[in-house]
């Protein structure tokens, strides 16, 4: 068994793991970054980045063979030819669905930072206070004020395009110039503003795509190809590869080890500290131990918790962090696929140039200010307007030259939007270890038992009806409300299972993301979340990670870890 010591170990190389590696190495620590999957090198390994739809034999649609191989992925949009190889192998990495759970995983260097939607919003003060005010679950141990400087910090580095709006519900940040709305969206925004007396707003989406170059990071501004999920040869969107990993590498303090599945945190009972991690090499199945003074778990929400569940089981049968009885509990996601769309008359003489990796956003307005609903919390909308393409219905034309001619030109304008709703943290929504089923490496797998409840179902009615009302108020015609079925996980925003809190008897992590039972173990990915807000979570993971590293290094210096 090989013995190797580092100052810090980071488990997982996605959005939060990349940040942990960057911050730790910049502060001078020697860091080992462990990634369970293969390496993907920036630009060089983005093999489809410049392909077009005609370069794929099935024009980017899934084959039956792909559907058989990816029975989970096929349930929604991610299964396509262009991103094959970017999603975890479902045969090698099974899990159990006590209730349906769509788990979309990226097991490679960069993780889902290569595939993410890039929508980047700050939480509001209201989000951090809601649990306490409403008596839901437990109080967050931090407030917006604790996070604001760290949001500033990560936004400046990552590069977030957006516009300042001065809204309490969606705090402004350190923005690069926004990606424009198109002319229909601009007008719809004005009409919504007027129709709802300035209580509802259609604004630029805030995205981690840079609209000005960042030469210090070797990143070129967005070229508007809208192919982000294939890896960007310009480094125009934030990913581990484009942004955090190069900085960490340049310090000379980073060792990256792909194909390294962390099986447990090694726990020292006497010191009540972790001493390292155990790793199985995914390629040769050998077991290795690495030791460190501090460990960051950023293996993605459920996998960070899986590692904890597998650790220190001689002390706590349900794993490190289970003394609270909350490890694995309080799973959240954002429920979505509710919204509306319709036709916009006019603007036949208007079009757009370039392909945006963005659209518009309508921040939460329910249960805000004086507004009170029969459910708690709220939702925001993401959407866009565009001119119809060749896949539109032309009732009066059937076949021939006229059909070809008509479909070759843009159709009328349509606009649509989808709500993303906050899901409450329910203790009984949980993941657990099932030792009767094992993966390719003989490791126990997770069993998912998660559902939405009445609060979310009530909210979904508003998510449809409010979308209809917003569009109708803006003069949109033929407005159709839509509710598509949603299963937990589909939002790809899984959160919770090792929540932060103020009390070790009700939470797994303290206010600096330290495991109460092993303060040199930090969990700063989605697992740490105490509630979910309705905004996309990744920016918050970045800020939490940078904040936790700052604390970790200061504690190390004081010899407190």
């Amino acid at each position: 068994m090989a013995e190797n010591h580092y100052d810090a170990i980071v488990v997982g190389s996605g959005i939060s793991g990349g940040w942990a590696a960057k911050e730790l190495t910049e502060k001078g620590l020697k860091v080992l970054l462990l990634e369970r999957g293969r390496n993907i090198e920036h630009v060089k390994d983005y093999k489809n980045a410049s392909k077009e739809v005609w370069d794929y034999p099935h024009r980017d649609q899934p084959t039956q063979e792909m559907k058989e191989k990816f029975p989970v992925l096929k349930r929604d949009y991610p299964l396509n030819e262009s991103t094959m190889g970017m999603w975890a192998d479902e045969q090698d990495n099974p899990y159990i669905e006590e209730k349906r759970f769509d788990w979309f995983r990226g097991y490679h260097v960069g993780g889902r930072s290569l595939l993410w939607g890039r929508q980047s919003y700050r939480w509001s003060p209201m989000d951090f206070e809601a649990n306490l005010r409403e008596g839901v679950a437990i109080d967050w141990p931090i407030r917006y004020e604790d996070m604001a400087p760290w949001y500033d910090y990560v936004e400046r580095f990552a590069g977030i395009a957006g516009s300042r709006q001065g809204l309490d519900v969606l705090p402004d940040g350190q923005f690069l110039p926004p990606i424009e709305l198109n002319c229909v969206e601009e007008d719809v925004a004005k009409r919504i503003e007027k129709a709802f007396g300035g209580t509802r707003h259609l604004i630029h989406s805030r995205v981690a795509n840079i609209t000005q170059p960042k030469p210090e990071q070797n990143r070129v501004n967005c070229q508007y190809r809208n192919k982000c999920w294939l890896g960007c040869p310009y480094g125009a969107y934030f990913s581990t590869q484009s942004s955090t990993l190069p900085v960490a590498m340049n310090t000379g303090n980073l060792t990256l080890r792909p194909f390294s599945i962390v099986t447990q945190v090694l726990y020292d009972k006497d010191r009540k500290r972790a001493r390292g991690v155990e790793v199985i090499d995914a390629e040769n199945n050998q077991t290795y131990e690495y030791t460190a003074d501090v460990i960051f778990l950023n293996a993605s929400t459920f996998n960070s918790t899986w590692i904890l569940m597998n650790s220190a089981t001689d002390v706590w049968p349900d794993g490190l962090g289970s003394s609270s009885g909350e490890l694995g509990h309080n799973v959240m996601d954002h429920h979505f696929r509710c919204g509306a769309s319709g036709d916009v008359e006019g603007y036949e003489d208007k079009y757009y140039f370039g392909r945006r990796p963005a659209g518009f956003y309508i921040p939460r307005f329910r249960n805000v200010g004086e507004d009170r609903r029969q459910y708690l919390r709220g939702f925001g909308y993401q959407g866009s307007a565009s001119r119809q393409r060749w896949d539109r219905e032309i009732a009066e034309l059937n076949i021939g030259a006229d059909l070809k001619q008509t479909l070759s030109q843009p159709g009328g304008w349509t606009i649509g939007m989808t709500g993303f709703g906050e899901m409450l943290p329910y203790h009984e929504n949980r993941i657990s270890l099932d030792r009767s089923v094992t993966d390719k490496w003989g490791l126990p797998v997770l069993a998912m038992n998660v559902e939405i409840k009445q609060n979310e179902r009530d909210m979904r009615k508003d998510m449809v009806q409010d979308a209809v009302d917003l569009l109708e108020a803006a003069g949109v015609k033929n407005v159709q409300g839509e509710e598509d079925d949603y299963a937990p996980g589909m939002g790809i925003h899984e959160m919770g299972t090792a929540r932060m809190g103020r009390d070790p008897t009700t939470s797994v992590l303290n206010r600096h993301n330290q495991v109460w039972d092993a303060p040199n173990v930090f969990v700063t990915d989605g697992a740490c979340m105490t509630s979910a807000s309705c905004v996309n979570p990744s920016l918050t993971y970045m800020a939490l990670t940078a904040r936790a590293v700052d604390h970790a290094v200061s504690e190390l210096k004081k010899r407190n870890l």
Binding site: Y352, F353, W390, L407, T418
Partner: protein
Amino acid sequence: MNRRELLKLITVATGTAMIGGNAVFAYSASDNGKGRFSARDTRLLDEVAETILPRTDTPGAKDARVGEFMTVFVTDCYTPQEQAIFHDGLVKLDALSRAEYDRDFLNLDAGQRETLVCRLDAQAKTQAASDGDPHYFTMIKQLTLFGFFTSEVGAKEVLRYVAVPGRYDGCTPYEQGQPVWATT
């Protein structure tokens, strides 16, 4: 436009969600009868597709090799049940042609092809309004439109394509007759 919307599902102008596409279908794995298309089938599909999207002053379906694309897509992306409908459809199409004109479809003149395909289009639209199996012509038409407009020829010579726009302008003038952008 974000990724979730972009890849949501492609509903081609047939009143039916894209068959074999990203949309979720009941699927049972079994022998999928690969390799059942003959060279003649490909020719037949090419000619039906060309009748739907003929060459004018711009390329047509045959220029984009839509027939060949259909055989690949049906074989690899359709369920066995869907494949059976498609294959039976080719037989039915020729049978209809013989019943009407005493000749295979490939031996019809352009006007006859148009008349016959128009009739199938009307039939298929009626069937699409009901809940049962899709009409084989719905499949052919979907794949013709999809195969043509997502082809390189279709994108570059019939629609407009810019590989690297380099900027986004949300409000540009549009003059009647300008093609639609090929990619989103």
